[in-house]
Symmetry: D2
Subunit: 422 residues, 4 copies
């Protein structure tokens, strides 16, 4: 594994940092609130998906970088690297069969030695694997052919069983099933078959597991998706049972969707299971979290903070799901985690009781002021403080570069190593 | 009431018409299917909303035409006029308080004499009426203030009671409630209060009535609507009970939404209550049905035909909801009804068993061919035949113009008469 | 005019303020850059449109507040009030005929006494005025009828002449012309007629004036607008001549449009004339600037700062164009101006040479860091400092409320006063 | 080459066909118009892009069919096959370097023997080729590095020279260049560099050639594209000169764009160069032409028919650009050509003088009636008649299946043959 020697923060850095903390206290006017926020920030861990450690691409091409992890062990090492820098990425989310390991025990040992755990496991029924007995060309859990559906169901069961071995507690199901042309699907039958298949998978779920069901309006199908929106996912997880929840991927919405309201509605019905964080302008662009719509991210976190305040037992799955087409994947992930923590920090500064007071009076200008004041506060020092307290570095990207980590990875793994996956 | 003397179809028209019927039989290759379609077309009645009989407008202005109905009696007469021409508009849908009548018995008599009935009644809590005790500025059923909610609940109860007198069997609730700015609403509380208010209204529903609950993503609120999408409406009507159903207004969707799939999903859960037909390119443009996306309309009707085939007791509410900003409202309504019947006729020509056969084989090209063949068939003669069999005219728009109906209405009612409403 | 007695900032406020300034210097690491930013902020003046001083509405209704200005003199007084608070709103933009004044000399005197000037004048050919000889129902500058076009051309000429009297230097043309249905317009002819009409107006433009030409994709027309996008506006202003420029209204774009790129392209061709600032989620929602997409606003200002750096003679028109449907219009305008200045301040903190350096190396992560660092900096103190130096108040909204300005306006003008306009 | 033996139409088919023609004449009421339409239909040839002959895919995967052409010669044979069936696909459009041939003379001979010609040639600077000296990862014609730009310019020059050898008369440039993150590009510099690069390519254009410049709002870049919209393409082709024109790809627009209006504006300025036909619901979905929005296609053809009527010398490039992810590519192409010809036939039935008459009177209902009457007419017989007159088959898809063409191709080429390209 790449050896890195992380420098201590300089004296100058640290004194600048404490002045920055003071100025947040000054702006917020409540030292306790700031300390509490730092405490909460320390607890937030965001899982890294194994497939985001390599270079992504589009149907038009892919421009690989170098030093990509070409084995699951290397992927785990990359996540450990990230976590060593930011102390907020202490778990990895696997995608089967891309991450199918021959020696699970060794991997578990490796992960343990690096203080990493295994987050939700992901099944894959949107690609055919070599020598697969049936093709998913026309769907998987929704397929008209019983044997294809059974293949997909069995695959999901296998994923659960792999996850059990690893210590995972959740199965994430993203279903690419859908149709490209009007007439291709009988919507009702396709939905019904999907519900049946999911039920069979659900029945294999260990009692302490959660099934996280995604939704997506389009891509890779361009006329209909079997689970196009939160409403359909909600309908399905409601029928499946208490262990089934909806997972929100920020990029899986039609233009202009109010995502924070969906988050709230799912919390209202206790059916929010977790997140795939990313950002996007047009479709499922899968770009760095917070790189385009930081205020939307903040508003989503306001709902989450309220939800966690309302229900201390709320157990949500947090993961990044991005495609790093042209930036260094590790730098990109560091930026994403930072953006998530910044949004969370801002949301923690809101006084929700005060907000509710003005909401009840319909004092809309004041409600806006309260949110904007939190958002306009420079909370980077709080995120840094939480990171430093956990043993992370002052500036993860800067450390990554000063330690020439990418260069080291390339020299170890070569320029042509290729992460499996998309 | 305007006297019109509708000419008989000419011999030439009628012989052209029968050739056109023959050519549909030729194209479809099944005379029975064509007869059955004509039979179904004769049964489809589409309600006319009272507010669509006058000139609509935008926030930028309104350009009234002339001869608009300025009383409820005149509105009923306008609908009778339409129905005399097309024989498919035999009911009117009222909007309270715009259509609050002093003498209900007289109106019922008038309607009966014209063979018209009263369709769903609509409540209005998106505008303040003169001398209203509380304002709906910040919402109605969702309002933070109990007294405003009660006002809105009572209004809905009154609307039900008016509807009972008239013989209506459904209450349509379109809720403009929402927020324009982040922070204005606590989504969860607003949704919860709305559910409570709706429950109280629902409890007043006569046992043979349906409550139709609309959804809309934006306008007049521009950040959130309390019931933004079918999922939220579905969640609410599920909690309310069997008499509550979702109503789909074609213009109430985000860009690129697959509406026909929503229709299918609601049918799957037996929660589709009815339609507000219109067409649109950008938002809730409320333009003439079928004037922009006739293929989408056809696809929606394919779902409806399948749904009605599956459940002969399915009882759906059909209504036009459009805003006639620059065209003659009556001509516009005639065009809308014609477009609906054309789409229905095309959908009736599809052989759904054959379609299912190819769907099950994933023969996508063939599925597409089946739908497109039905859509590309010129079914205007079938719609005309159904209309003629019911005693309507050969060409409603032509008759409207030849009889100088608008001119007569203007001379009777003046150029400055104004229909109440939007 | 409403008498207000603005308190001095407290000692505590002022010492908090200077700590906040220091912390910006600390974050930015360059005192000169901060001073320069404050200097630039002092120069930015944003015009207030007369029509934004009252309550706006939608086609579904309007919920008036109280104390609205019911005369042009009162509108000028309202702008003076805003300017007294924020010192950044020293001009008013009039809309003719809504703001047609009988006694122009008196108005000029009033404005002068309040240190206000008259910004761009706006023509209105999207509504019919009482007793207008021809109707704009089917268009104005594009109308098929020569006499309607001439009426609209003459109106624009009259607006120029009114503007000349007032000391304006620009005519803003927003053309609602378009079509609601396919077939209604022959696009080519409509565009050609519009070009002819604009040419005639352009020929009346005083040599030191600018014609600002807006574009908008839809509303109030729902199939086509004659000038739907920047490309069409650019095509027209290119043909008209050097005095014609494109005006960008932030709400006048299709979903997901990259507005900052349009700004850059127009600057590239020296055809950017100015802005109508507002924010929106769905369409032309006309909500408070910065209330939804503050990062987009910042990115637009980055282009503007670069543009102004490149061309010190660049003369842009800055105006708010919003519709205050439920908030107090004056509070809303104060929030909008603040948001504009915050975005400008953030954009002023970017080191564009450094950015160019990394752009040239395709170091994308670093480019992102540079922008996000500026955006994440809490610049509220810089905006406040600029305001205080100009004699404005510490916190405009707070002063507005503490001085009970709305209450005073209501007591002076009544609850039912109505601002003309939308 | 696959041997197929195309059956003659049966007597029953032919008599059904002539009845169908008669019924169109009946509906249209003008035999000459129908004959003229058939004449025009015979002339319309639509180029087939070489890359559409194999199975397409998305970033999530690809599900190949079998019998794909694995050489350029086989691609030419596939197009010949299509053309033998529909007689409307007499040319092929090549993509370099995918279609770089070793022996051009042989290919020309092959094409000639099959009565095919070579349409526009396409350059490719959105993918890196093995052993390429510089990477297009960060752009090509817009790249910050002069040497990358030169590589891309030279590639385009080479494509022109290959095209000259083949007898092409146009170069199509689709530029994937853009940025994924705010800050990555300096928009102005990127656009300026692109203009310079295009100028150098343009200077190599033979005098009888056209340069067709596409635009696209996003994908594969997700923040900005250097040529995002028709306005930018128009700006560039205007600066380049008369031989440069804009090419419209139907899928390259933001949601809700009025494409037919863009077509009209480009025709107005004589800057429309051609089309890439496809259909889409969400983004650049590249699905079968006419499979989703047939009315939009018809409206576009109305503009084209008017444009060709206005300028008989108008020379437009017509090509399909689709991605056949799950349907048989050849069937899909047959469906696309059919849909184009149907839309063209409908547009040819419109009486544009009559339309203009009602447009000038602002009789909007009547304008709508005129367009809808043409669209609702069943014109399949006209398209078939044109095809039969040229020697094509009665029903291309049926012939394709009855002749078991795909089965033959698979047996000749195998199930694993792979077309180069996307």
């Amino acid at each position: 594994m790449t050896k890195i020697d992380l420098n201590q923060s300089t004296k100058e850095e640290m004194s600048k940092h404490s002045r920055a903390i003071s100025s947040v206290v000054d702006a917020v006017g409540d030292e306790n609130k700031v300390s509490r926020a730092i405490g909460k920030l320390k607890q937030l861990q965001i899982a890294i998906p194994s497939w985001a450690l390599g270079t992504g691409g589009t149907r038009f091409g892919r421009f690989p970088g170098g030093g990509e992890p070409s084995s699951l062990a290397q992927k785990i090492e990359d996540v450990a690297l990230l976590n060593r820098l930011n102390k907020s990425s202490s778990s990895i989310s696997l995608h089967i069969p891309w991450d199918k390991a021959e020696n699970i025990e060794e991997l578990k040992k490796l992960a343990k030695s690096l203080d990493l755990s295994f987050d939700a496991v992901n099944s894959n029924t949107f690609q055919d694997q070599p020598n697969q007995s049936y093709s998913y060309k026309y769907g998987s859990l929704c397929h008209t052919d019983k044997e294809v559906r059974q293949l997909a169901v069995n695959h999901n069961k296998e994923v659960i069983s792999i996850g059990e071995n690893l210590g995972s507690k959740a199965l994430t199901v993203w279903l690419a099933d859908g149709s490209i042309f009007p007439g291709q699907h009988d919507f009702k039958s396709a939905l019904n078959r999907t519900l049946d298949s999911l039920s069979e998978i659900y029945s294999s779920l260990p009692p302490d597991w959660t099934m996280l069901l995604e939704y997506k309006p389009y891509e890779p199908n361009f006329y209909s998706m079997v689970i196009p929106d939160w409403g359909t996912s909600y309908l399905l997880v409601s029928e499946l049972g208490d262990q089934a929840k909806t997972l929100v991927d920020l990029g899986h919405h039609l233009p202009n969707t109010n995502i924070e309201q969906i988050v709230s509605t799912l919390l209202f019905k206790n059916k929010l299971g977790g997140f795939h964080f990313n950002d996007s302008k047009y479709g499922d662009d899968d770009i760095t979290v917070g790189s385009l719509k930081p205020y939307q991210l903040f508003l989503i976190f306001c709902e989450l903070v309220k939800g966690m305040d309302d229900d201390p037992n709320l157990d949500l799955s947090w993961m990044i799901d991005a495609s790093h087409n042209i930036k260094d994947p590790l730098e990109d992930l560091l930026q994403s985690v930072e953006a998530i923590k910044i949004a969370y920090a801002q949301a923690l500064l809101v006084d929700y009781n005060e907000l509710a007071f003005y909401q009840n009076r319909n004092d809309i200008s004041q409600c806006q002021e309260i949110l904007q004041e939190a958002f306009r506060t420079d909370v980077r020092a709080l995120v840094r403080e939480a990171r430093l307290q956990l043993g992370g570095v002052y500036d993860p990207i800067k450390s990554f570069r000063e330690n020439k980590i990418r260069e080291k990875l390339i020299s170890e793994r070569g320029v042509n190593s290729k992460a499996t996956g998309l």
